[in-house]
């Protein structure tokens, strides 16, 4: 992939993108920009506007308002050029069931503007890349879901697009197939910008280098998974189990200025289990262990909760929910 400065030449640049379906906004004033060479995850519940955005970027739908540019081309005015730069796999990966795998891939390559020779060569390439050799002459309708998914990915990649848009690429697959598809997506991400959507967190968490969180037609966050986790770092609670009386513990936590909130529950044996919320995001563990040593309280557990993306997702999409 061309190694351009990411900010100077983003792969996707979306400004005030809006799409109405019969008076109701499916997406509302979206603005985001995605640098080249990343694996981007669109994350959000069903109906949040992920598929609509993808369809607009792939040149299938037109936006009601706003602009979107893919690889420097305007999706409304230079749709033809955009479609040459984009490999799109729609939701549920529709394929022509009455065609054979190789025949289908060659047909798709021809539609995407490759000449006879090139389409034959590329078909062989993607058949090898996605390990479709054993089924190359089978009817697509006879294939298992995992193979069909690979045929869909092979089709998306066959004209060597700069951007791959995959709508829910792992939906309905078994865990083994999901792992295979994930590996393929990751390897595609080495040479292409990849955009995938999902409503399942672990899915995008392991694959993506950047996450856009959708909710009711808006984007609530656009950052790396790590940065999103760090944004919530301040709320990290710690859990500690100490052998001490409840009164002593309560007094100790109240004296500790960094503890904003504490809760003490009796645990197995003489121990008490305490949940401590830090006041300004400080890591409380060194203080707690120092305190235990100073008081001579036996300590058997000291952990810091890590917020998973699951928490972030729930927090961002329904902020009233406390966690």
């Amino acid at each position: 992939m061309t190694d351009l400065h990411p900010d100077a030449n983003p792969m996707i640049e979306v400004q005030n993108l809006t799409k109405y379906y019969g008076g109701k906004a499916a997406i509302h004033d979206l603005c985001f920009s995605v640098p080249r060479g990343e694996i981007i995850g669109f994350l959000g519940p069903n109906g949040a506007g992920k598929s609509t955005t993808m369809r607009i970027l792939a040149g299938y739908l037109s936006a009601s308002g706003g602009t979107a540019r893919v690889a420097g081309f305007d999706v409304a005015r230079e749709s033809d050029m955009v479609r040459r730069q984009v490999g799109f796999m729609p939701e549920n990966n529709p394929l022509h069931e009455d065609m054979r795998v190789r025949e289908y891939l060659k047909f798709r390559a021809r539609l995407k503007g490759l000449n006879t020779q090139k389409s034959r060569a590329r078909t062989e390439d993607v058949v090898e890349q996605f390990a479709l050799g054993d089924v190359r002459n089978r009817m697509i309708g006879e294939l298992s879901k995992g193979f069909r998914q690979r045929v869909g990915l092979a089709d998306a990649l066959i004209h060597e697009p700069e951007l791959l848009i995959l709508d829910e690429p792992t939906i309905g697959l078994d865990p083994h197939q999901i792992r295979i598809v994930r590996q393929h997506i990751k390897s595609m991400g080495k040479h292409h910008t990849v955009l995938i959507s999902s409503h399942i967190l672990p899915e995008v968490e392991v694959t993506c280098t950047r996450l856009l969180i959708f909710h009711e037609g808006n984007i609530l966050a656009n950052d790396t998974p790590n940065a999103l986790e760090n944004a919530l770092e301040g709320r990290h609670r710690i859990t500690v189990e100490l052998n001490a009386s409840q009164e002593d513990l309560a007094q100790a936590w109240e004296e500790m200025a960094e503890v904003e909130h504490h809760r003490i529950l009796p645990a197995e044996g003489e121990f008490h289990r305490c949940a401590l919320t830090p006041r300004d995001g400080e890591d409380l563990r060194p203080r707690v262990s120092a305190l235990a040593r100073a008081r001579g309280w036996p300590l058997r557990e000291l952990t810091r909760e890590r917020h998973t993306l699951e928490d972030i997702f729930v927090h961002i999409t329904s902020p009233e929910e406390d966690f």
Binding site: R83, P94, E97, L111, K112
Partner: protein, 250 residues
Amino acid sequence: MSVILTLTRRELASHFLSLRGYVIMAGVQLLLGASLLTVVYLLNGRAYDLPFTEKFPQTEFFWLVLLMVSPVITMHTFAQEKSSGTFETLMTTPVSDLQVVLAKFIGSYLFFLIAFLPTLLYPFIVKQYAHEAVAIDIGSVFSLGLGVGLFGAFFTAMGCFASSLTRSQIVAAVLTFAAGTSLFILGYIADLRPSEMMWWHTSLQHVSMLRHMQDFSTGIIDSRHIVYYVSLTTVFLFATVKSIESRRWK
């Protein structure tokens, strides 16, 4: 251009990859064969005032086939792709709406012609047994063929349009059949009152497909009829393109 070729080939091949294509071809030949039988039976052993080419399009089965075959051929063109979702993968390749519509039309139309191809043998069969050199006039065979071909182009374009409106193949077929049959029945209304020459009656006579076919079957190639079918075909293809485009602004 090569895109249209690729898509047309796919469209035509799809008929032969499923049972439907063979059922259509068998059905067409069964009903037209019954037509042939009727005509041969009529002409058998007595003098008849109409030549074979003129009698043939007056049989019921002939019209039944013409009215039914196009809806069945074209019903899947867009409806199936829409319902299975492949329409989305198709329209996100760098093809234009016009290319897709033309390819679907040409593919379906070619299949229509293929389904009617064995009919060309009928005149020769009749000639073989009529023992009369004048039984068949090649000129009127040609003009009747042209009439069927023009009729087919119009109905195929109308079928493509109906299919582009819906996700359901059945709805597409019923729409095409209903529209086609309604138009056909107008021709009967025109024939109902031959005495009154009102303005609407004259207009109806111009759209009467029975009259068109009658002219074609007697060997008359009237440019008005050609313009009629070609322009209707164009109008419906244009409407199909617009219907495909509508996904963008709907």
